[in-house]
Symmetry: C2
Subunit: 251 residues, 2 copies
């Protein structure tokens, strides 16, 4: 009881703080970007790194099923994949698989590239005074390779798995990113390539925009609640008006 | 003119031969299987092998776009991918890329596995006296690694890229496979994981069945004309009745 009361008080002050610090502009808008498959072309490398890690542990999983779990929290993903195999896996083994994945993915680092239009999209948002943040289910250690490929202004909030209790499809990552931007979550557009991004966006009460650049089909993203779907960051940049971004910042 | 007439005569005799040799059983039915992503879990390895080959040639292509071209004839695929980059590629370079792909894919051979239910599905068709063939856009050299994983009865027709003029989405591979089985193409069910299989099936006048095991979305396959879509060969095996296969062979 004491904890519940304490949490309620904290929540009340947080809401009050949100109201006091939130942009007073009714046109306020911000973007919360997923990283892998959304800004950087790294999903397939992650897929085969998970495949290598699970296969090394004697777990045989069809690759397409791994692909469809990418973007979830690593822990949830291993749970989902074990449902497929029906083989229980110990905590130690799960940690070993996560380490093997990190090593296998690190080997792929030289082949990673920024997705077409990603840097230009971020630059356009900066020019239009639209704030943005990065929110990834990956841990900082493995996100570092990918973050280095982007030229992010030093003040850009980056929220990784290490900073929240639960990763996608829980809303925590996006809520934390919106909080760092001091923009109400309902004014945020979440951009992601996986259904987990879009489900987390719905759970956070943000608008979700889907990109095909992670290898999901358009309808899969739409059915997960995407407000709009674009090929890749370049295609989103060409259609920013559909998301309510005006080329000139609001007066 | 002479060539056109000659072709027409050849076509007439071929049709006559088809009619004379086709199974007289009105219940006749056969399956024509794609290989990569349909019977063997090899699509993602192909994707990253193409990525490695194009990147080594200085061509930067987002990986998801390569994924969506897998299953096409290699030549058509390179054309489609060059449309994305807008960079013309010489014939020598195209051949070099195809060689690099074959080498990169060969390195992945130890990680390849038969998809869940693939062998059981083929065995069930054999038991039900339903003939089947394999028809792949790959060349024999690279299909060999994957074919070795399956236990195919020695009489199983296998049609590769080397044996036809045009690969998928042209209908040639499936037409050749049906011909080898001596079953009219309209009585054949084409099973594939890519839209190119389903488009080729339509051009051949066969019924197409889609499998998600190559990483396409369900709706992508349905929109390309799939009569039904299943997760993988195991799921198709559980639903063979929907394709008109009766457990006991027709009397």
């Amino acid at each position: 009881m004491r904890n519940a009361t304490y949490d309620a008080i904290i929540e009340f002050f947080r809401s009050l703080l949100d109201l006091m610090t939130a942009s007073q502009d009714s046109d306020s808008l911000a973007f919360l970007f997923d990283l892998d498959g959304t800004l950087v072309d790294s999903v397939y490398q992650h897929v085969l790194a998970w495949r290598e890690a699970t296969q090394a542990s004697g777990i045989e999983l069809p690759v397409w099923r791994i692909h469809r779990q990418i973007g979830m929290s690593g822990g949830l993903m291993l749970h989902a994949l074990w449902r497929e195999t029906g083989r229980p896996v110990s905590k130690d083994e799960a940690e070993r698989i996560q380490r093997l994945h990190a090593d296998a993915f690190a080997k792929q680092a030289p082949s990673l590239r920024v997705l077409p239009g990603a840097q230009e999209l971020l630059n356009a948002l900066t020019a239009a005074h639209v704030p943005y943040a990065i929110a990834t289910s990956g841990r900082l250690q493995s996100a570092q390779h990918t973050l280095e490929l982007l030229q992010l202004p030093p003040e850009t909030p980056v929220v990784t798995r290490d900073q929240v209790k639960r990763a996608k499809p829980d809303p925590d990552l996006f809520l934390a990113a919106a909080e760092q931007l001091r923009v109400p979550i309902a004014k945020c557009i979440v951009v992601g390539d996986s259904v987990w991004d879009l489900l987390a966006a719905r759970r956070a009460s943000a608008l979700g925009v889907g990109l095909l650049s992670g290898g999901y089909g358009r309808e899969e993203l739409e059915r997960a609640g995407a407000y709009r779907t674009y090929d890749d960051p370049a295609d989103l940049l060409r259609h920013l008006d559909e998301c309510g971004v005006r080329p000139d910042p609001p007066a």
